[in-house]
Symmetry: C2
Subunit: 170 residues, 2 copies
DNA sequence: AGTTTAAGTCAGCGTTGTTGACATTCCAAG
DNA sequence: CTTGGAATGTCAACAACGCTGACTTAAACT
């Protein structure tokens, strides 16, 4: 499997960036960076009775208003019971509105209320600020590489959801 | 804060990679990619009574053998009680050995046992395989950008731990 | 001798994930 | 019309893994 020599020259092409040591660095970079990635929203959410799951739900409802519960489920990759618990509190607190579908009345379409938009903006601003700072420090070429590697790291399902969102957005 | 126009040309320099839309893509890429990043080890761990926290502990004990509990605490960024619960099971199951310090007998130095190394290798192989595939698909320049952005996304403490590990390694 | 530090432990709590079982509502096919 | 399946929601129970607070033990520092 892992021979520790995958980075030696092979067939005349330098593969030094594929050594186990380089891969380990990538793994640790992901670990530490993800902590930074979630740190700012987590701080804000901790003051309320909310957690990261609420943030994710709010993010994707804002991103795709009117999405059904099932669709949100497949994007978030959790069980319906887990999501339902989160949605129940958000709806109860007046941050999310659930409208019965017109063509299929079994479906519930989810929307952010004014209050929900306010929280979404607060959380997004914090997270974007860090991302913007990181992008700025690293430069445009680095950002392109960053996105390429992340996309290559996704499962096929996730990549489909990601690219679909990318097309829909702006 | 976020005006949605930060990507317009400014001072003759193209900052199109800093639009809110670009930042949002980066945020969603991180979210989806992290799921892929943890998916393979999670599958393996789910078969045992272990979780992600056990993986992290094993990873860094392997990475810095003989590390003290306090040091591991600051790397992982959790409370002593949280880490202790994980360490107790790992020591009890014979995956980790805790040796009393020779110079300072209050300290406990942590090491992987043979069994611990076996699990570490299994988990690492799975995680590295995905990282290797992603790196290979994206290419060396993309990998460099990936690491640059991630490092810029870390908190100062994390960046210090990350770069320190990077120097120690290889 | 007194204080601080490292580590471990116990009790309790919150968020977020999981399964399993079950009710409701609605659409669609027989 | 009845029946089966799909979408949704709810209840109960549980596990992983964060957290705080309080407390003990042992060793080191001052």
């Amino acid at each position: 499997m892992s021979n520790g020599h995958s980075g030696q020259r092979f067939g005349g092409e330098s593969l030094l960036f594929l050594t186990d040591e380089q891969l380990r660095q990538g793994i640790e970079a992901m670990f530490f960076a993800y902590r930074g990635f979630t740190a700012d929203p987590d701080r804000i959410l901790a003051e309320m009775a909310y957690g990261r799951a609420h943030h994710r739900a709010i993010h994707f409802i804002n991103r795709a208003p009117g999405t059904t519960v099932n669709n949100l489920l497949s994007i978030l990759g959790v069980t319906k019971q887990s999501l339902n618990r989160v949605l129940r509190t958000l709806i109860g607190d007046g941050l999310v509105e659930s409208r019965v579908g017109t063509v299929d009345k079994r479906e519930r379409h989810l929307f952010l209320t004014e209050q929900g938009h306010a929280l979404e903006a607060t959380l997004s601003d914090a997270q974007r600020a860090r991302m913007r700072s990181a992008f700025k420090d690293a430069g445009p070429e680095a950002v392109q590489g960053f996105k390429q590697v992340l996309e290559a790291m996704m499962d096929a399902d996730m990549r489909r959801a990601y690219t679909k969102m990318r097309e829909t957005g702006s």
